[in-house]
Symmetry: C2
Amino acid sequence: MQLQGELDRNPIAAYGTGFLMAHIPGTFEISHRDERSSARTGILHTAHGPVQTPVFMPVGTQGTVKAMTPAELHELSTEILLGNVYHLNVRPGMEVIEAHGGLHAFMGWDRAILTDSGGFQVFSLAKLRKITDEGVAFQSHVDGSRIFLGPREAMNIQRILGSDIAMAFDECPPHDCGFEYTCKSVERTLTWAALCLEQPRAEGQLVFGIVQGGEFPDLRKQCSQEMVSLGFDGYAIGGVSVGEPEDVLLAGIEHTVPHLPDGQPRYLMGVGMMHQILEAVSMGVDMFDCVMPTRFARNGSAFTRRGRVPIKAGEYRLSTAPVEENCECYTCRNFSRGYIRHLLNVSEILGVRLLTIHNLHRYSEFMKEIRSAIADGSFAEYKRNFLTTSTDTWIEQTGD
Amino acid sequence: MQLQGELDRNPIAAYGTGFLMAHIPGTFEISHRDERSSARTGILHTAHGPVQTPVFMPVGTQGTVKAMTPAELHELSTEILLGNVYHLNVRPGMEVIEAHGGLHAFMGWDRAILTDSGGFQVFSLAKLRKITDEGVAFQSHVDGSRIFLGPREAMNIQRILGSDIAMAFDECPPHDCGFEYTCKSVERTLTWAALCLEQPRAEGQLVFGIVQGGEFPDLRKQCSQEMVSLGFDGYAIGGVSVGEPEDVLLAGIEHTVPHLPDGQPRYLMGVGMMHQILEAVSMGVDMFDCVMPTRFARNGSAFTRRGRVPIKAGEYRLSTAPVEENCECYTCRNFSRGYIRHLLNVSEILGVRLLTIHNLHRYSEFMKEIRSAIADGSFAEYKRNFLTTSTDTWIEQTGD
């Protein structure tokens, strides 16, 4: 036990000892498997500690999970969060982050970070895009300045950021672009993926490939297989949550996961509705991210077991009840709906803070429940129960 | 010792025992006196615990010290904060706060609260004022609705808020309104003050009278003496920080304090520049409040021992130094100027949060230093040293 403790504190000494293989970044230990679905729990080891899966990763686009301190994220048991190449490259720029020695030191976060390569933002935010085999030339959405981002640039930025998981640079086309364009886009994504693997990385940095292919099962299969043959540390299902209907989203997962290696982590990009997370987990997905809990907090919506609650609604004016009964988060232990409603109505920062804490806590608890249901064999029951008694949309605004 | 501890936990048992008189709200124990000035340290007991003086009270206008949780204020050793009758009466309204059982429960704050009576805001924010002997009719600055606030209304609101210290309702005229108007205003303030004392109070609630009189020494003296003869639990110097030059402000203190009882707390309303606090403390003032540390944080300015630092300035772009070297606040222990500058530039809430924590910490430390300098007989030296080596305005933006 003492030796183990010693090595835990000195991870470099553990490398190559064999019996501590698990501590090498990229090692993915599957702990439990659900017998009636493809759901599994696991631990993904990163250079900044272990990540228990299935995991929900809060989004920290601009070097901060909006309204939260790292200390508050620790309290919520957050083990990994997201950063964005596109945004951080525009502001503050790599010179600033390099001066700080990387994104962890810059934002004061000592656990794992996954960085999105910028592909998604280039195709959703940037103006005047011009795509070539080398990458994409575009105008910044902030000040219109000319920027070029390709596989080399995205990987170099992620090396400087020093994220634990870097994403390959991909093309993420809209869901209704047709077969021919999707085909071309898959080809380009694969070329870029191969280039990404050739670039230098930060120490211990993992790289995940992103599977595209839109709503076309054959393209999804082909892209998955070729991506896997390139040999990444994990694989993401991309091109989802881009405006397609839910059945298309779920089909996209179904047509991708079976072609990915069982022993490596699978990440569904940008999907965050709770019932969608449940479906994806049962199909074998391990990682999720979404702006929903933080963005909805800023709009005054609380996630509860009974559904979303519009805290600004007039009916909560006199409410002394917490956002959610029996919730153990700092917000629910200390403040009422009536108080938070007031704060939001007078635009006080604390209102957004308190709802963000609650929403991220709710997501964290949700993932914990999923993990323990898988571990104790009750996942099917948990899922059925959630889908019938909980709601993922607005609750009826009757009573309190 | 054990008995003392027992009684500390059971303050009601302590009432009337004589030897624990100090725990009765309103008791003001003077602990140390400076030999070379009128400065003193003390403990003011309130229904929500002791307050060490001289004290700086953070401002929580709308039921929250902007951007801060009560837990964070605890960490900064905050023992008392300010609430505002005018704002809380407009939003959320007394019905909401009454439903919660008072302002403490509403905002989750278990230590002392002083509430401003609304006089200052009625005269600085409200539109279409009409003043009578009964009070002031005006339009809300939020939605233009008609509101009436007078001594009875202000005291009733403060009773519902349940603040530990209620302020009498006063007229706070502009500094350049002339002798005749100031005279009339003092008369009205005294009439209202007497009426305030007749109103019902919350349990354990103290009431402070406010001395007006503008820049006229005789009026200050007369108002002080008549206010004292009415018999309040403490006295405030009002009609300051209303646009007058600094020498007029300091003269106002000088012409008021000598006429106030030595054994009761003195509160200088709305004054928060550090060198002004030092001057006022040396004249015998015990309590201060100001929006400066919180408001300046929102504008990107940090208070440091060397002066104010405009964190958004371009020169801090690559700075990995904390806001202030050797500062022990959460912000300085964990984050750099470069990071906070980035957060402010991209309008992330965390930037404002981190600067607010630092600025309030700086004020808290400043008051601690003042108290211990008075206690150990070095106040004159501390004051001289502060006024020569520190600066209360912008520091030179060179180097760093």
